[in-house]
């Protein structure tokens, strides 16, 4: 019994969204992700407008150059991802594998850089709760070179970038799985749903970063 909607790819019909289930599903799921980040960004807007004096200038505490490199990495991984997808659309297994591996590596590198960023920041005394007592940054603040307190700045910084990082990490995990399947030749010119679905997720995470990078690091 082949249910018409279960066939792939679906014929153009009056019913359905003209796309296969997994693709529709991931788009719908991304809708909920949008709302999740809306909650975080909404909270950020509220505390930022409510307590602007808690914010340091760009590059005062956060390391914008390092993050710029990270942004560069994520954009690169997005392009390799989409190239992977384009390759398998043409049925090119080799290139699919190559680009997938590249994406995994760049994605992992992003997480690595972020981990480095976090450790440095914590080391300097920038915590989710504000300055660490007696730290380098706390001293600067005492001398008036930094805002007296950065508690909500730290809170929103770590929460927003942390959850983004968590999403990237989950993406990397899933992508490792897709890559493994790619090496086993499971994707074909006709059926490569996994690649497209993980790709959509990955680009979405990139998109979120583009917004976060601007509002967290630059403004």
């Amino acid at each position: 019994m082949a249910h018409p909607a279960m066939m792939h790819p679906p014929a153009r019909r009056e019913i359905g969204a003209d796309v296969y289930n997994e693709k529709l599903g991931i788009w719908i799921f991304l809708g909920s992700e949008v709302m999740f980040f809306t909650a975080l960004i909404g909270a950020y807007i509220i505390v930022r407008f409510g307590s602007p004096e808690f914010w340091a200038l760009p590059n005062q505490i956060l390391n914008v150059p390092v993050t710029a490199i990270n942004t560069f990495l994520l954009i690169c991984s997005s392009v390799t991802m989409v190239k992977a997808f384009a390759s398998i659309q043409d049925g090119d297994q080799k290139k699919l594998q190559l680009y997938m591996v590249a994406t995994v590596i760049i994605g992992a590198a992003f997480v690595g850089v972020q981990a480095y960023e976090y450790t440095t920041l914590v080391h300097e005394g920038f915590l989710p709760s504000g300055y660490a007592a007696g730290s380098h940054l706390a001293e600067l603040a005492a001398r008036g070179e930094l805002p007296a307190s950065v508690s909500v700045y730290g809170s929103s910084f770590y929460t927003m970038t942390g959850f983004h990082g968590f999403h990237v990490s989950m993406g990397v995990v899933c992508m490792v799985f897709v890559t493994w399947k790619a090496f086993k030749g499971k994707y074909t010119k006709e059926d490569h749903r996994g690649v497209e679905v993980i790709g959509l997720y990955w680009h979405f995470v990139d998109l979120v970063w583009i917004i976060l990078f601007t509002i967290v690091y630059l403004v």
Partner: protein, 92 residues
């Protein structure tokens, strides 16, 4: 995805370069001595422009059917609603 075979791939590398250029410009603008409001608006506009590029080209929204696009943009009004409402706490 049925478009796969039929149309040639868009030039992803061009989009990539476009994104990188925008990022570099953004980095430059962020440290200009402009007023806070102007900076905020310029940077936000650029970020949204970049996000759009990703959505349209990498996520292929440019080529999706209308039914699919509706799903993609459906939550956006809701994000605007909450942001506008909480902003009124400060601007009134």
């Amino acid at each position: 995805m049925s478009e796969g075979q039929s149309h040639a791939h868009p030039n992803y590398w061009a989009v990539w370069v476009y994104l990188l250029v925008l990022t570099v410009v953004e980095l430059g603008v962020a440290f200009l001595p402009w007023s806070k409001q102007v900076l905020l608006l310029t940077l936000l506009a650029m970020a949204i422009w970049k996000a759009l590029l990703v959505a349209l080209f990498f996520m292929h929204l440019k080529w999706e059917g209308n039914r699919m696009r509706i799903f993609a943009i459906a939550p956006l009004p809701l994000t605007v609603i909450i942001v506008l409402a909480v902003l009124t706490e400060y601007v009134w």
